[in-house]
């Protein structure tokens, strides 16, 4: 059994691009669960239902949740407790990792931290599906994130580099890699040969942090 843990971003992105049916098909191919946390449920279903512009997308995601395509992890009371502790630890470590002007820079919120924590609590192999840039960079190259902070904030940013290792266990894929898999598995129903490329760009322009160069690479694979 394997798990994919979704952050809010990729689900919002699939919904805004009108390609949630592809997620359903991918789920059928996947020998495991598509998991979300309570924090993500709030961001993708509860909160946007109250915003006219996004209510439809939220309802479509709710249907996916009601059908069990995306679901909460089945955790024991002990694991729930562990999840909360690990989420708070991740928040503490990440939000004191970088400093500028004598202050810690708070970079993560509880939703992203909870998704990361869940992947630590579960015993089975897991990957995180994250579209936003900061959490992905934290896992894969925290020093590049420090450099971005320093460049953009126009001030010296220091890091507790001994804590970089705390994030190296997280494996991250994005919504674009899911569409790549759907393309390879011939799960995309649109017959037009440009559909795959259009989906990759659609995901990029709705918040997936993938560079144009990477999209072009994905197109050729």
């Amino acid at each position: 059994m394997k798990n994919l843990i979704f952050d809010a971003g990729p689900l919002i992105n699939f919904s805004m691009n009108g390609i949630l049916p592809i997620l359903k098909k991918l789920k059928k191919e996947f020998k495991g669960d598509f998991l979300i946390t309570k924090e993500v449920y709030h961001e993708i279903i509860e909160h946007p239902q109250k915003i006219k512009r996004f209510a439809l997308g939220a309802l479509q995601l709710k249907e996916l949740f009601d059908e069990g395509i995306i679901k909460y992890a089945e955790l024991t009371a002990q694991q729930v407790d562990e999840l909360r502790k690990k989420r708070n630890q991740i928040l503490d470590i990440s939000n004191s990792l970088y400093r500028a002007k004598g202050r810690n820079i708070h970079i993560l919120d509880k939703g992203e931290a909870a998704a990361m924590a869940l992947s630590l609590v579960l015993k089975e192999p897991t990957a995180l599906v994250i579209d936003e840039r900061t959490a992905r960079m934290l896992a894969e190259n925290p020093d590049n994130l420090r450099k971005i902070l320093q460049r953009k904030l126009k001030t010296n940013v220091t890091a507790k580099t001994s804590n970089y290792k705390e994030f190296k266990y997280f494996k991250v894929i994005r919504s674009t890699e899911l569409i790549y898999l759907a393309h390879k598995k011939k799960l995309i129903e649109l017959k037009d040969p440009r559909a795959y490329e259009a989906m990759l760009y659609g995901l990029k322009y709705k918040g997936c942090s993938i560079s144009e160069h990477e999209v072009e690479q994905l197109k050729r694979l």
Binding site: L26, L149, L153, Y180
Partner: protein, 186 residues
């Protein structure tokens, strides 16, 4: 308020720039505040940045200036801004906060198309500032929370920026990430 002096300098600059009608400069001044807001995440600094950016956007659009309520709205906006500068000089943060809030509430006294337009400018200003903070390296969810915008709006807006296209943001060779995706699906 953190960085009071810096915010004060920016606000004074806004006042003098307004006299020169250099609206682009006003926009860039709001971005200067955002550098600090990303570190301190102080709601007062963020509100100030939103107010300044909104002002620059409002002044860019000529057509609404013909509306009969415009002059009154604009004069009150500037009066509150001037008063806010004076209060910040005195380090009276509570009153400063109230003045900034009064600018936001000026919309309530408006009606019709002008009200809708200005409301939209304020909303878009929040999303623009959120996108800037995300660009600085703060996570999308954290940024959405700080600015009080929805993740949906922020994802949509920031997707159109170049935030993912800088070299530093490419943290794993694509082939390796594809392999990871294939393995988990394998």
């Amino acid at each position: 308020m953190e960085e009071r002096e810096h915010v004060l300098t920016i606000l004074k600059n806004v006042e003098s720039t307004l006299k020169r009608k250099n609206y682009t400069k006003i926009k860039s001044l709001s971005n200067q505040i955002i550098h600090n807001a990303s570190i301190h995440q102080d709601p007062d600094i963020i509100s100030t940045a939103v107010i300044i950016y909104s002002l620059s956007k409002l002044l860019e659009q000529e057509v609404y200036k013909e509306n009969r309520s415009w002059d009154n709205f604009y004069n009150q906006y500037i009066q509150h801004l001037k008063k806010a500068v004076q209060l910040l000089k005195k380090d009276d943060i509570a009153e400063f906060r109230q003045e900034i809030d009064l600018i936001r509430k000026l919309i309530q006294g408006l009606s019709g198309k002008l009200k809708d337009y200005i409301k939209d400018v304020f909303r878009k200003a929040r999303i623009n500032k959120a996108s800037k903070i995300y660009e600085h390296g703060i996570s999308m969810e954290k940024t959405a929370r700080i600015l009080g915008v929805s993740l949906w709006e922020l994802a949509e807006y920031s997707g159109k920026t170049k935030v993912a296209d800088i070299n530093l943001a490419v943290t794993m060779p694509l082939g390796k990430r594809i392999k990871l995706a294939e393995e988990i699906f394998g």
